[in-house]
Symmetry: C2
C-alpha cells in the first residue's frame, strides 16, 4: 500500500502577512513619529507590501537579491520586509547607529543595489552613496510627522517612498519558492572583531516565529497590543513583527523615538499590553514615570533581552511598571532566542534567563569542547543546536559549528537543577593568570552592584610572571566617594584572593561600543 | 558571495520527548486506572520508550512498518507512540469501540504484524487474531489497577508489556530520517461510508503541534496540568500528547474510565488546569458534580471538540465548572484542528467555532466548487488548505484535493465578519426539493432546542414530484408531551414553509453510530 500524503505547505514568510490580512484584517499596525502617530490595518498593509514587490521588481530586484534597509521600526519598514520577502528578495537590515565605515563594509559584502532608509539620515546616506558604488537606488521611507531633507545625489536615483509606490507599485506573486531560500541578512554587532553576517532562511524564521508564539515564550495573542521596542535591524526585531502578524496582534512600532516620554505616550495612547526591548529602554521609561508621576496601566508584561540586568533594576521594572518581566538570552546567530523565563510569572532572580523552548538545545563543555560530565550546576562553555541557529556565516565556506553540529556561543554559563540558564561571562573576556582562569563577569557583577559605581569592567593586563593579571576599570557615579579600599573590600571574601585586581583605574566615562555595550576592545588596548 | 546557512533541524517527533526529558525531566505523566493512578516523569518515560524501540526491533518492526495500537489513554500507550515513532515506525491507532469487522478491515489495510492493546479487551483481540492472519505479536499494555485475562492464542505470541521490555528492551537510535516520513495512521470514523485512512507525517504532526501551542490556540504551558480527555486514537488525541511533552506540561491520561466520578477524582487529585474532549465527556462530569455537590476548583479551561453544542449546555459548562470554554472545529483529515476560539476568553455563542490559526486556510464555495464572491456572511461548502491537512488518503493514488490543492471537508459553513466559523450542516445531508436545497441542520437545531426533545434528525425521502422531501425523526424526552403541532409550530416562521417536514416519526431511541453521532445512514435506509 502506498502511504497517504499531507498537503505541501512551504514554510515561507508571506504566510504570516497573508494570514493577518485574511483573518485579522482590521487589526492595526501603529507607527510612532514626531508629534503624531500613523496607523494602518493588516489587510491594507498587505496590499501595499504586495504592490511594493512590484515596485522592487521595477527597480530590478529579483529573488535572491539583497534589499538593504537602514530604518527605525515603522510601517514603511515592515512593508519593505514583506514586500521584499514575498517574492524571495533578501532583506538586509542595517543599523543606522553604526559608523559609515562599518555600514560600507556590510553593503559591499551584501552587494546592495537598493537601499531603503528612514528620513533624517541624509548625511550618512550621502556618505554611503559616495563609498558604495553599487548603490543605484535609495528609497526614503515615510515616518509620521518627520520632515527632513532627502539625501542628495547626482549619481543614484533617490525615491520618495510614496511616489515610488504610486509610480511603480504593481500586484506581485508571492511565495512558490523553496522554503530554504534566504529571507534576511543581519550582521552581528561586531564589538570585538569584524562583523559577521547571519543569513536567515524562510524556514528558519518561520520556525523561530511559531516556536516563539508558545504561551510560555512570547505568548502574544490577537488581543494583545505589542510594542516592538527592539529595533527591526536587531535579529528581525526578535521576531515580533512576524509573530504579531501570525496571531493578528496590534503592533506598535515606535519609530525613531525610544525615550521614556515617547514610549509612555505610545503605550497609553494605544493600550500596549506587551513590550519587548533591552533594559536601557525600560530604564528610560521608569525614570520618566518617576519624574512625572505618570503611569502605564495597560502594560502587563515586558520581555527583557540583550544582557542580564542587576536584580534591583528588574525589581524596579516589575514594581514601578506593574508588570511581569521575562528575562531571556539570545544572539543574532540564534534568530535570536536561546532561552526565556515563562510569560506571566514573576521572575525572582534577574540573572536567570530561563530554559530553551522546543527547537533549541544547549550543552556545556570545557575549554576544549568536551561536554561537561555534569550539565547541571557546573560552569562551562555554552554551545547551541537549533532549528534557527547559524550553521555557516554569510559568505563563509567553513561551518561555524563543530563536527556534531553544535555552535559555540562564546558565552560561559551555568544551568541550574531546574534547567534555567545563567550567563556567567564571555569566554574571550576570561583572564588566564598562572594557568588558571579568572572570570571578569563575576568581579564586574559585585563591583557594579555598589551604589557608588555607574559602570565597571575588568580586563587582563600582560604580566611577566602570571601571564595576565586583572585590571578593574570603574566609572564612579557623579559625586560618589569611591576609594580603592571600598572596591577591594566589596570583593574580599566573595572571590578568591588571587582574583583581586592588581590595579584600579577610574574613568569619567566608560568607552561604549555602538551597540551600547562596554567596549572591551578599547579597554584592552588602553589598559591591557 | 555564498549565502550563509542555518543548521539542519528535521521536524521529527522524537524531538518533543527528547526535549521534555532533558528540560522538563521531572514533570509527570499520570495514568488513571481502576482505584488507583500511576505516575512517571518525562525523563523516565523517554528512557522506557527508547528501550521499547529496541524491543520493537526485536519483534521485527522496521522504519516504515506499522505498529497497531488499540488502547485507552495511558502511559504505556504514550510509550508505544514514542517507541514507534522514534525509529520511524508508523503508529496506527485503532479505536477499541469499533466492531471487530471494522477493525479487521483497518488492520488488513495497514498490514499490522504487531498489535499493542489495553488490558481487558481479550474477546475482541482474540476475534481479531482469528480474522487477521498477518498479526504475529500482541502486546498487552499495563494500566494501573486493571486485572484482566490476557487474550489467548495458539498462533500469535501474546506478550506482557513489562516482560517484553525486560526481555527485549534495548537502547535505540532515534531520528535521522526524512521529516516527511509517515509517523501515524488514523482511519476516519466512517459513519457514512467505508473508513478512509489519513497518514500523518513527522513534519505535519510537528507543525500541527507548534501551531497548536500558540497562546491563542491550546496555549498550554509548563505550569499546566492537562487532562487528555480525547482518546489518543482520535487524530492523535488532538495533538495534546505531543504538545504536553513539547512544553513540559504535566499530562493526565484517564485510562479507560471517562465517567464523571473518575474524571472529577483525577482532576482534583492531580490539580488539572486544562482539559480537552467532546461535549458528552463534560456533560457526564457536570451531571456528576450536580448529583454530588462536588467541585473541580483547579480546572480553568476546557477545549471542546467534536461537534457544536447547544448554547445552554455550553453556558452550563462555563457556570458549573467555573471554566472558560474553547469551542473548536476539526476533523481527522486536518490532524485535527481547523478553527478554535481563543484560550482564556468567555465564548458567548456556542455555534461559533473561531478562526483558523496560522498554518490553516479556509474557503467557501458553491456546490460546484467555485469560490463564493462573498466569503463573509454567506453559507457555502467549506474547503481547507493547510500544513497538516490531508492531500491523499492512505493507499490512494488519486488526491483528495482539487487542482488548486484545496480539500473539501463536506461541511457547510458560514464565516462571520470577524472571521469566526459556524458549521451549518453536512453537504451530503442536504435535501434537494424542487431543485432547491433544504439544510437539515437548521431544522434539527430548532427542534433540538425544544425542552421536550432529546434528539432530532432530518433526512430526505424520495418524492415523485419534488425529488426529495424532509422527514423529521425525533426521540422525545421521557414523559414529554410532544405533538406534531408543537414541532411544526416551533418551525413556522423560522424556516421557509416549503422546508417544513412532510412527516414526523417518533422513535424511542435514536440510532447512533459507534462514534456517538446520529447514524443518518440507518435513518435514510429506514425512513428515506
Amino acid at each position: 500500500m502506498t502511504p497517504g500524503a499531507i498537503q505541501p505547505y512551504a514554510l515561507t514568510l508571506e504566510k504570516f502577512i497573508d494570514h493577518a490580512a485574511k483573518w485579522h484584517g482590521s487589526a492595526e499596525v501603529v507607527t510612532g513619529g514626531e508629534g503624531r502617530s500613523a496607523r494602518i490595518d493588516y489587510a491594507s498593509l498587505r496590499a501595499r507590501a504586495n504592490r511594493l514587490s512590484g515596485a522592487f521588481a521595477a527597480l530590478g530586484l529579483e529573488a535572491g537579491d539583497n534589499l538593504g534597509t537602514m530604518a527605525w521600526n515603522s510601517q514603511a519598514h515592515l512593508e519593505c520586509w514583506f514586500g521584499a520577502m514575498g517574492p524571495g528578495i533578501v532583506c538586509h537590515t542595517l543599523n543606522p547607529r553604526l559608523t559609515s565605515g562599518h555600514l560600507m563594509r556590510m553593503i559591499h559584502a551584501a552587494g546592495n543595489r537598493v537601499l531603503a532608509v528612514s528620513p533624517g539620515l541624509a548625511p550618512l546616506v550621502e556618505d554611503l552613496i559616495e563609498r558604495c558604488p553599487m548603490i543605484e537606488h535609495v528609497i526614503v521611507l515615510a515616518e509620521p510627522g518627520v520632515e527632513a531633507p532627502a539625501p542628495a545625489s547626482n549619481r543614484v536615483h533617490v525615491w520618495d517612498y510614496e511616489e515610488l509606490l504610486a509610480e511603480h507599485g504593481a500586484a506581485a506573486v508571492w511565495g512558490g519558492f523553496d522554503e530554504n531560500a534566504p529571507a534576511g541578512l543581519c550582521f552581528t554587532s561586531g564589538t570585538t572583531g569584524p562583523p559577521k553576517g547571519v543569513t536567515y532562511t524562510h524556514r528558519s524564521n518561520y520556525l523561530e516565529t511559531v516556536h516563539l508564539l508558545q504561551a510560555d515564550v512570547i505568548g502574544i495573542t490577537g488581543r494583545d497590543v505589542v510594542l516592538v521596542g527592539v529595533p527591526m535591524f536587531h535579529a528581525n526585531g526578535w521576531g515580533f513583527p512576524f509573530a504579531g502578524a501570525a496571531v493578528g496582534a496590534k503592533l506598535v512600532l515606535p519609530g525613531r523615538n525610544q525615550d521614556g516620554a515617547s514610549l509612555a505616550r505610545l503605550i497609553n495612547d494605544e493600550g500596549v499590553t506587551v513590550a519587548a526591548g533591552v533594559a536601557t529602554v525600560w530604564l528610560g521609561l521608569v525614570d520618566y514615570l518617576d519624574a512625572t508621576g505618570d503611569a502605564v496601566p495597560s502594560l502587563q508584561r515586558i520581555l527583557l533581552g540583550g544582557s542580564s540586568v542587576p536584580q534591583a533594576l528588574m525589581d524596579r521594572f516589575e514594581e514601578r511598571l506593574g508588570v511581569t518581566v521575562q528575562t531571556s538570552w539570545g544572539m543574532t546567530e540564534l534568530s535570536p532566542l536561546g532561552t526565556v523565563t515563562p510569560a506571566n510569572t514573576l521572575v525572582r532572580i534577574a540573572s536567570k534567563s530561563g530554559k530553551p523552548p522546543i527547537g533549541i538545545d544547549l550543552r556545556l563543555t570545557d575549554a576544549n569542547g568536551t561536554p561537561l560530565a555534569e550539565q547541571r550546576g557546573d560552569e562551562g562553555h555554552l554551545w547551541v543546536k537549533g532549528a534557527s541557529a547559524v550553521e555557516r556565516y554569510f559568505g563563509q565556506v567553513e561551518p561555524a559549528t563543530d563536527a556534531d553540529g553544535w555552535f559555540d556561543t562564546g558565552d560561559l554559563a551555568r544551568i541550574d537543577a531546574d534547567g534555567s540558564l545563567s550567563i556567567t561571562g564571555r569566554s574571550k573576556d576570561l583572564i588566564k593568570s598562572g594557568g588558571e582562569w579568572i572570570n571578569p563577569a563575576e568581579i564586574e557583577a559585585i563591583v557594579g552592584a555598589l551604589p557608588e559605581v555607574a559602570l565597571a569592567a575588568v580586563v587582563g593586563r600582560a604580566h611577566e610572571r602570571w601571564g595576565e593579571r586583572p585590571v578593574l576599570v570603574v566609572e564612579p557615579r557623579r559625586g560618589a566617594d569611591l576609594t580603592d579600599e571600598k572596591l577591594l573590600g566589596a570583593l574580599r571574601g566573595r572571590i578568591a584572593n588571587w582574583w583581586l585586581p592588581d590595579s584600579i583605574v577610574r574613568v569619567a566615562a566608560m568607552p561604549l561600543a555602538l551597540t551600547g555595550k562596554i567596549d572591551k576592545m578599547r579597554l584592552r588596548a588602553e589598559y591591557g
